[in-house]
C-alpha cells in the first residue's frame, strides 16, 4: 500500500453504539473511528449490521445506546439533515432518487444553487451537475427525469450527489455492485481525491479485490458486533473471510452428491426485450443448479418469468414435460414450481400478517373444506413447518415483522415447501440472514435435492454458488454466457463469465 494514513483525530466516530429492531439486535456495542485522509473498509456478511451502521451515521436511526462523535464532540443526529450539516454524505445501497424530478435536481435537492432573490439558479445547477458528471467521466443529461435511469446510472447520480456535498465524511454502501470496471475505477479515483483533500471515506463492498485496492484500514463486523479493525497491510483475504464467517468456509456448504434424475425444468429460447435474451436451461431432479452473474445480469428476471410473475416475449418453459402458460404463477404452482423470491420483505412475505398466515398463504385452498378455511388445520400446518424448520418464534400468531431475517426466510421456505414442489427456485436464499441460519438453509437445500427435488438457485455469493451447485450457469447482460460443471466452476471462471470477458470462460 502506497498510502500511509496520517494520525489525524477521527472526523467521525461511533462509540459503543447499539440498535435493536424488535427482537433483532442489529448493532451491539459497536465502536468505529473514521479518520480524515483515510479510506476505511467495512466488511461483513449480509445481516452483519453494516447497513444499520450506515443509517446510524446518516442520522436515519438513532442508537439505543452509545453515541456518535463528530470531530471529537458527541452529537445526536436526530434527522438526516443533521448528519448532512455535519458534513456526512451517504451513498445508499438502494438508490434513493425522485423519479419525477430531473437528474440535476436529484443531485441538488434542498441545496440548489441560488441566484438573486433566493431563486434557484437552474443554469448554475445544471452546470454543476455537468461538472460532477465530468469528474466521474460520464455524460448524463442533467435535465432528464430520473425515472427510467438504469440502476448503474442511478448509482452514478447518487455518487454525484454525494460528491456535491463537499463531504468531510463520505459513506459508500456497496456502491460498485452495479458498476462496470471503468466506472468503478473512476469512482475509486474520486474516493482517493477526497482522501487527498482530507476527507474520511467509509467503503463497504463484498468484493475483496476492491477493498484491498482502495482501503487503508478494514473493519470486520459479524452478527451486529465489531470483530476487528486492522491496517490493510496486515490482512489477507483469508483472514477477512474467517472473521466475517466466524468459522472455516469449507464446512459451510454441505451439498451431498445425488445422482440426478429426470429433467424437471426445461427452458428454451426465453426472451424479453431489453431484459434477457435466448435463455435456455434445464434442471433435473435432485440437482442444484446455480444461476450466477453480476447484479443486473437478468437472473432474477429469468426465474420470475419462469414462475410466471413476470411476462416474457417468446420462448417456452416446460415442467416435467408440460408447457407452462406464461404469466400465470398459479399454473406454475399447480405444476409443482415454487419460487422463494429475492426480496423477502417485498415479495416473499406479507409483513403485517401473522407467521401462520404467511406460512399457509400458498395453501389456502388445500387447507379449506367446502370453500371455508379451517383454522385448526391452518394452525396445525403452520406449527408442523415451524417445527421442521426449527423456526425461532414467539407465537405463530405474531406478525412476521417480529422475526429475525433468518427466521423470516424460514417462513418463506415453509410457505413454499408446504406446497410440496417438484422444482424449487430460490433467489438469493441466504441474503441478509445470519450465519447460523445460513448454514441451516444450505443443509435444507441439500436435503431437498437429496429427496429428488430440482433446485434452481440464483445467488450472488460465489462461495455459496461454488459450494452448493452441481452445475453453474453464468449470466451476463441478459444472456447465459457460460455453463460450468462443478469441477470447472472456480471463482475465476465464474467471474470471467459474469463480467463478459472472453477466452477463459466456457
Amino acid at each position: 500500500m502506497d498510502h500511509h494514513p496520517p494520525p489525524a483525530p477521527p472526523l467521525l466516530s461511533l462509540v459503543g453504539v447499539s440498535k435493536s429492531f424488535g427482537t433483532v439486535h442489529a448493532l451491539q456495542d459497536v465502536s468505529l473511528e473514521l479518520r480524515g485522509g483515510e479510506i476505511h473498509g467495512l466488511c461483513g456478511e449480509n445481516g452483519a449490521g453494516k447497513s444499520t451502521l450506515v443509517k446510524t451515521i446518516a442520522g436515519v436511526h438513532r442508537p439505543d445506546a452509545g453515541h456518535v462523535e463528530a470531530e471529537g464532540r458527541a452529537t445526536a443526529f436526530s434527522a438526516p439533515a443533521d448528519a448532512q450539516r455535519a458534513g456526512v454524505a451517504v451513498i445508499y445501497q438502494e438508490p434513493t432518487l425522485f423519479p419525477d424530478l430531473s437528474v440535476a435536481e436529484n443531485i441538488f435537492m434542498g441545496r440548489q444553487p441560488l441566484a438573486r432573490g433566493r431563486r434557484i439558479d437552474r443554469r448554475a445547477m445544471r452546470e454543476a451537475a455537468e461538472g460532477l458528471f465530468a469528474r466521474l467521466g460520464v455524460r448524463i443529461d442533467p435535465d432528464r427525469p430520473a425515472r427510467g435511469l438504469s440502476i448503474a446510472d442511478q448509482q452514478l447520480v447518487e455518487i454525484a450527489k454525494a460528491m456535491s456535498f463537499d463531504a468531510r465524511v463520505l459513506v459508500m454502501d456497496e456502491p460498485t455492485a452495479a458498476l462496470s470496471g471503468v466506472e468503478v475505477e473512476r469512482l475509486f479515483a474520486v474516493a482517493r481525491s477526497l482522501r487527498g483533500d482530507g476527507a474520511a471515506v467509509l467503503f463497504i463492498s463484498h468484493r475483496f479485490d476492491e477493498i484491498f485496492a482502495l482501503c487503508d484500514r478494514i473493519t470486520v463486523m459479524r452478527d451486529g458486533r465489531h470483530i476487528s479493525t486492522d491496517p490493510v497491510a496486515e490482512l489477507t483475504a483469508g483472514d477477512l473471510v474467517r472473521r466475517m464467517v466466524g468459522r472455516e468456509v469449507a464446512t459451510l456448504f454441505p451439498k451431498q452428491d445425488v445422482a440426478p434424475g429426470e429433467t424437471v425444468l426445461e427452458v428454451e429460447g426465453l426472451h424479453r426485450a431489453g431484459v434477457f435474451a435466448d435463455v435456455g436451461l434445464s434442471v433435473r431432479a435432485g440437482e442444484i443448479v446455480a444461476l450466477a452473474g453480476l447484479v443486473g445480469a437478468g437472473r432474477s428476471e429469468v426465474v420470475r418469468a419462469v414462475f410466471g410473475v413476470d411476462r416474457y416475449d417468446s420462448g417456452t418453459v416446460r415442467v416435467s414435460g408440460r408447457r407452462l402458460p406464461p404469466g400465470r404463477p398459479s399454473a406454475a404452482m399447480a405444476a409443482g414450481v415454487a419460487l422463494v423470491p429475492e426480496d423477502r420483505r417485498q415479495q416473499g412475505l406479507v409483513m403485517e400478517m401473522s407467521i401462520e398466515r404467511n406460512a399457509t398463504l400458498t395453501r389456502r385452498w388445500s387447507l379449506s373444506r367446502l370453500g371455508l378455511l379451517r383454522r385448526r388445520d391452518e394452525e396445525r400446518a403452520a406449527a408442523e413447518w415451524a417445527r421442521r424448520l426449527q423456526l425461532k418464534a414467539g407465537r405463530l400468531s405474531d406478525a412476521v415483522t417480529t422475526l429475525s431475517g433468518g427466521n423470516q426466510q424460514k417462513v418463506v421456505l415453509a410457505k413454499w415447501l408446504a406446497t410440496e414442489p417438484r422444482l424449487l427456485i430460490v433467489d438469493e436464499p441466504t441474503r441478509g440472514i445470519d450465519v447460523g441460519t445460513k448454514a441451516e438453509v444450505h443443509r435444507l437445500l441439500s436435503e431437498l435435492a437429496g429427496q429428488g427435488i430440482a433446485v434452481l438457485m440464483v445467488s450472488s455469493e460465489l462461495p455459496e454458488v461454488l459450494g452448493m451447485a452441481d452445475r453453474v450457469l453464468v449470466m451476463h447482460e441478459g444472456r447465459i454466457s457460460a455453463e460450468l460443471s462443478r469441477d470447472e466452476a472456480t471463482e475465476e471462471s465464474v467471474m470471467y463469465a459474469a463480467t463478459g470477458q472472453e477466452g477463459r470462460a466456457a
Partner: protein, 379 residues
C-alpha cells in the same frame, strides 16, 4: 440492488386454468349464474308493466269523521314544519309565519329539516316526526312521490299532513295550502312581462328544476295564456333550468342571452333564478335592454329594483303562507274541517278560507312589487 423493472404484468386468464384459481373462478361463475337464474325465473312468470296497476295507490288517510266547525282547537298541539331544506331563506320566512300562528293557537312549534333538499333525507325527518307523535306535519315536498310512503305511515300513526309551497300526490296528504292558484300566478307574470317588453318580442323562461311541480304547472299555464290573441306578438324561444342553484341559474341566464341575441325579456318563476338572473343582468351590457320579471323576494330584489335592472316582480307573502298552513293543520287536527270541498275555517288575522277540491286551500292572488311598494316589505 436490482435493475428497475417494468410494471409487473400478470396477463389475464388464458386457456388452461390451474387448480386453486380455477376453483375460485368456478365459484364466482356459479354464484353469478345462480343469481341470473333466479332473476330470469322471476321475470319469466308474468310481468308487472306500466299501466297494470294505476300508479302509487296508497292507503288513504281519508276523512271519515264529520266536520265540526265549532270544535275547539286544543292547546299544546304539536305542529312541526318540515321545509324543503333548512337554511333556505324563503322557508325561514314561511316557517316564521307558521310559528306566529302556532303561538297564537297555544301550540308547540317545531322546525326541522335536512341540510340538502333531497326527498330521501326528508323521509328520515317525516319518520322522526311521526315517531315523536307530532299532531300536524307541515311539509314542502322535495319530490311529490318519494315522500308518500312515509307520509301515509305518519297519517296512519295519527298525524295530520299539510303540504305547502310544493304539493305531494293528493292521496298522501290531507291538505295543500297553495300560495296562489297557478292560474293567478301565470297570469300575473305574463301581464308583467308583456307590459315591460311592450307587447312583443322574444322571451324565455328561466325555471327551477325540470321536475319542479309548481314551475312546470306555471310554465304550462303561461304558455296557454300567451297563446291568447292579445299576446300574439310574443314568442317563447327557450326554457332553461337553473336547478334553484344560484350559480347554475347565473350561468343559464348568461347562456340565454348569448344564444338569443334578440331576446326581449326573461321570466323566472323562481326566487333563486330571478335573483341570480337580476345579478347577472345588472353587471352585464344587457342591463336595461332585456326585461326581467318573475317571482322573487323583496329583500333579494330590492337592489335590482332600485338600480333599474328589474321593473316589477311578484310573489305571495311566504310568512302568510306558513301562517295559513299552520291554521289549516290545526283546524283539521281539531276536527273543524275534514278536507272536504266547501268547508270553511277561520285563519286568524287572514280571515276565512274555503277548502277547494282535493283539499286545496289558496292563499290569494300574488302581490306585485315595484319601486313604489317594495320598501313596505321585509322578507
Amino acid at each position: 440492488m436490482r435493475p428497475s423493472r417494468p410494471a409487473p404484468s400478470d396477463s389475464p386468464a388464458q386457456a388452461k386454468e390451474s387448480e386453486p384459481i380455477m376453483r375460485e373462478r368456478i365459484r364466482f361463475g356459479v354464484t353469478a349464474a345462480a343469481l341470473a337464474g333466479v332473476m330470469l325465473a322471476a321475470s319469466a312468470c308474468g310481468g308487472t308493466t306500466r299501466g297494470d296497476d294505476g300508479g302509487s295507490g296508497a292507503g288513504s288517510g281519508g276523512s271519515t269523521a264529520e266536520a265540526d266547525p265549532d270544535a275547539e282547537i286544543p292547546e299544546g298541539l304539536a305542529i312541526s314544519f318540515l321545509p324543503k331544506q333548512l337554511n333556505n331563506p324563503y322557508f325561514t320566512v314561511a316557517d316564521a309565519g307558521g310559528k306566529e300562528a302556532v303561538e297564537e293557537l297555544g301550540g308547540e312549534f317545531k322546525e326541522v329539516g335536512p341540510s340538502e333538499a333531497t326527498a330521501s333525507s326528508q323521509v328520515s325527518y317525516i319518520n322522526t316526526l311521526s315517531q315523536q307523535g307530532s299532531d300536524v306535519i307541515v311539509l314542502a315536498a322535495n319530490d311529490p312521490n318519494a315522500v308518500c310512503g312515509a307520509l301515509n305511515q305518519a297519517r296512519q300513526a295519527g298525524s295530520v299532513v299539510v303540504t305547502f309551497d310544493s304539493d305531494t300526490a293528493p292521496d298522501c296528504r290531507d291538505l295543500f295550502v297553495n300560495q296562489a292558484t297557478a292560474k293567478d300566478i301565470a297570469r300575473t307574470q305574463v301581464e308583467m312581462i308583456a307590459e315591460q317588453i311592450g307587447g312583443e318580442g322574444e322571451i324565455a323562461f328561466l325555471s327551477a328544476t325540470p321536475n319542479a311541480t309548481n314551475q312546470n304547472a306555471w310554465l304550462e299555464l303561461m304558455e296557454k295564456e300567451l297563446a291568447k290573441e292579445e299576446y300574439s306578438g310574443i314568442e317563447v324561444v327557450d326554457t332553461v333550468y337553473g336547478n334553484d342553484d344560484d350559480q347554475k341559474s347565473f350561468n343559464e341566464m348568461q347562456g340565454l342571452l348569448q344564444t338569443h341575441p334578440d331576446l326581449a325579456g326573461v321570466v323566472s318563476p323562481t326566487t333563486v333564478g330571478l335573483a341570480a338572473a337580476a345579478r347577472y343582468l345588472s353587471s352585464s351590457d344587457y342591463k336595461g335592454e332585456v326585461a326581467l320579471t318573475g317571482l322573487g323576494t323583496p329583500n333579494q330584489m330590492r337592489e335590482y329594483v332600485e338600480n333599474g335592472t328589474v321593473e316589477e316582480f311578484a310573489l305571495w307573502d311566504p310568512a302568510n303562507l306558513g301562517y295559513l298552513a299552520a291554521y289549516s293543520g290545526a283546524s283539521m287536527s281539531a276536527g273543524r274541517i275534514t278536507g272536504e270541498q266547501g268547508q270553511t275555517f277561520e285563519a286568524g288575522r287572514l280571515g276565512e278560507y274555503t277548502v277547494r277540491a282535493d283539499g286545496e286551500i289558496v292563499l290569494g292572488p300574488p302581490t306585485v312589487f315595484n319601486k313604489g311598494n317594495i320598501d313596505d316589505y321585509d322578507f
